[in-house]
């Protein structure tokens, strides 16, 4: 059973959101352990460019494993303020520590997020 930390929020597309998910807030985003496990060994992460705008529910990047490729969705709307540059050299961090060193990008939120799930709801989704 994949780990689902209690203190994070989640999207149905298997991203997690850490931080103040409200207008004016800044959040850190990654993919869940469930998603990382399903992809297998991740060898390439394409995060959205710093300074670009992302829209909740829309594709903003991609993750590639030996087995498959998966699109990365933004769980919130806003402006990308940073991306995890370490993943260029160590994309396996997404598998090893999806909720920590495997974070993917940070967004300054410009619209109130809708439809984010708490840990219990996300856990049910993936049960």
């Amino acid at each position: 059973m994949a780990n689902v930390p209690e203190d994070l929020q989640y999207s149905a597309e298997h991203e997690w959101v850490d931080g103040e998910a409200a207008v004016g807030g800044e959040v850190m985003i990654g993919i869940t352990e469930h998603a990382a496990d399903a992809l297998g060994d991740i060898v390439y992460v394409e995060a959205p460019a710093v300074g670009s705008s992302v829209t909740a529910g829309e594709v903003c990047g991609e993750l590639e494993s030996t087995k498959a490729v998966s699109e990365l969705y933004s769980p919130v709307t806003g402006t990308v303020v940073s991306a995890n540059e370490a993943l260029a050299a160590t994309p396996e961090d997404v598998n090893k520590d999806p909720f920590g060193t495997g974070w993917i990008f940070k967004v300054a939120v410009t619209e109130a997020p809708q439809g984010l799930l708490d840990a219990a709801a996300y856990g049910e989704l993936t049960a």
Partner: protein, 372 residues
């Protein structure tokens, strides 16, 4: 319909495997990790459960004549205890399945079919058997197939063998022998595989599968790693081996896939009788090929995947990717694709439409990896 379980299902669960539905079977896609499993086969040894593969026994006085009619290869030339890579084609020359045929006796062959095609192959063999003195038996449920692949596989399989262990080492590629494994388990051991490495495939009774699996892990120790379907796919891709449903389909002939050599048309000195697909395959042989299966290698990070377009520099589609992945051994994206003859020469620069962006890749001869 629920998926069929391998006789090794409980072993896979105990090893923490991620199981997926594959051609109606619930099979391990990975245990520890795709890259670690792939690397183990290239550098040491990997253990695979191939129980999903179909095994069809052909017995009878007309076994040779029947298989020479039903399949494209010259089965009468296969020696006792030898194996042959062959195909079943339709009357129009399209590939129904690629197969390995093992000759177990003068009048007894075992045909190993892809899991997804086993029922079709069995039905076609049955239809083609009219008038021949043969019996066909689907042994897929009774037989477990376990593969030990990698440079250390010979030592491991030899050590697993209690009687006639000396026969394992000298066994040539595509040859097989009956041995008795530790625990008095009878096995038909073939030096065959789908990884591009030295390796063995062990046919055992389904009831013995758990004992053989555990024996391989116990003998192999740190040198052997259980491997799932994901690493099996990247291993065969690097080795340039076709996968049915991707490089081979009903719409491709063996010539399209560069495998015309599997068809024996016979010669004047050594003629061969009729076989299903002969007329269409002769025409395909004599026609100028319109497309060629080639390898692809890239310098970027994004990989080609099955179904992606191959385009010229202007972005005009010229072909299609059949398989692709980031190669664990080569450390770069690789693939296989059908391209027109004009773009098939090694070194030709093409673009692959990877989700809307053209990724430059270079055409390369197959296989993309060859063991030292």
């Amino acid at each position: 319909m629920s998926a069929t379980r391998s006789p090794l299902h409980d072993e896979h669960v105990a090893l923490g495997a991620t199981l997926v539905d594959f051609a109606g079977w619930e099979m391990p896609v990975r245990y520890s990790g795709d890259i670690a499993e792939h690397t183990a086969v290239r550098t040491s040894a990997g253990l695979f459960d191939l129980s999903h593969m179909g095994e069809i026994a052909v017995r009878g006085a007309d076994a040779v004549g029947f298989l020479e009619y039903a399949l494209v290869g010259r089965m009468g030339a296969v020696g006792l205890g030898k194996a042959k890579y062959t195909m079943m084609c339709a009357a129009d020359g399209g590939v129904i399945d690629d197969l390995v045929a093992y000759r177990r006796d003068f009048d007894h062959f075992v045909i190993v079919a892809n899991a997804s095609n086993k029922d079709v192959v069995l039905a076609e063999l049955t239809a083609r058997a009219a008038g021949f003195d043969v019996t066909l038996e689907d042994e897929s449920a009774a037989v477990a197939l376990i593969a030990v692949q990698g440079p250390r596989s010979e030592g491991i399989v030899t050590a697993m063998t209690a009687r006639d262990a000396d026969n394992i080492g000298p066994l040539p590629y595509y040859a097989a022998t009956n041995v008795v494994l530790s625990g008095d388990i009878h096995a038909f051991v073939a030096r065959t595989g789908y990884t591009g490495e030295d390796g063995f495939e062990l046919f055992v009774a389904a009831a013995d599968a758990v004992d053989v699996w555990r024996l391989a892990l116990a003998i192999g120790g740190d040198a052997i790693v259980p491997c799932g379907l994901s690493s099996r796919d990247t291993l065969r891709l690097e080795a340039g081996m076709p996968l049915y449903g991707q490089e081979l389909t009903r719409a491709t002939t063996p010539f399209d896939a560069g495998l015309g050599r599997v068809i024996a048309f016979g010669t004047e000195a050594n003629p061969r009788g009729n076989f299903v697909g002969r007329t269409a395959l002769e025409a395909a042989r004599d026609a100028r090929p319109t497309r060629v299966l080639v390898g692809l290698v890239g310098d970027g990070r994004r990989s080609p995947r099955a179904g992606y377009s191959v385009t010229d520099a202007a972005g005009t589609p010229i072909g299609e990717v059949t398989s692709g992945a980031p190669s664990p051994t080569l450390g770069r994206p690789i693939g296989m694709a059908y391209v027109p003859l004009s773009a098939s020469e090694a070194g030709t620069e093409v673009l692959i439409d990877v989700r809307g962006r053209g990724e430059p890749m270079t055409v390369a001869a197959l296989p993309l990896y060859r063991r030292a």
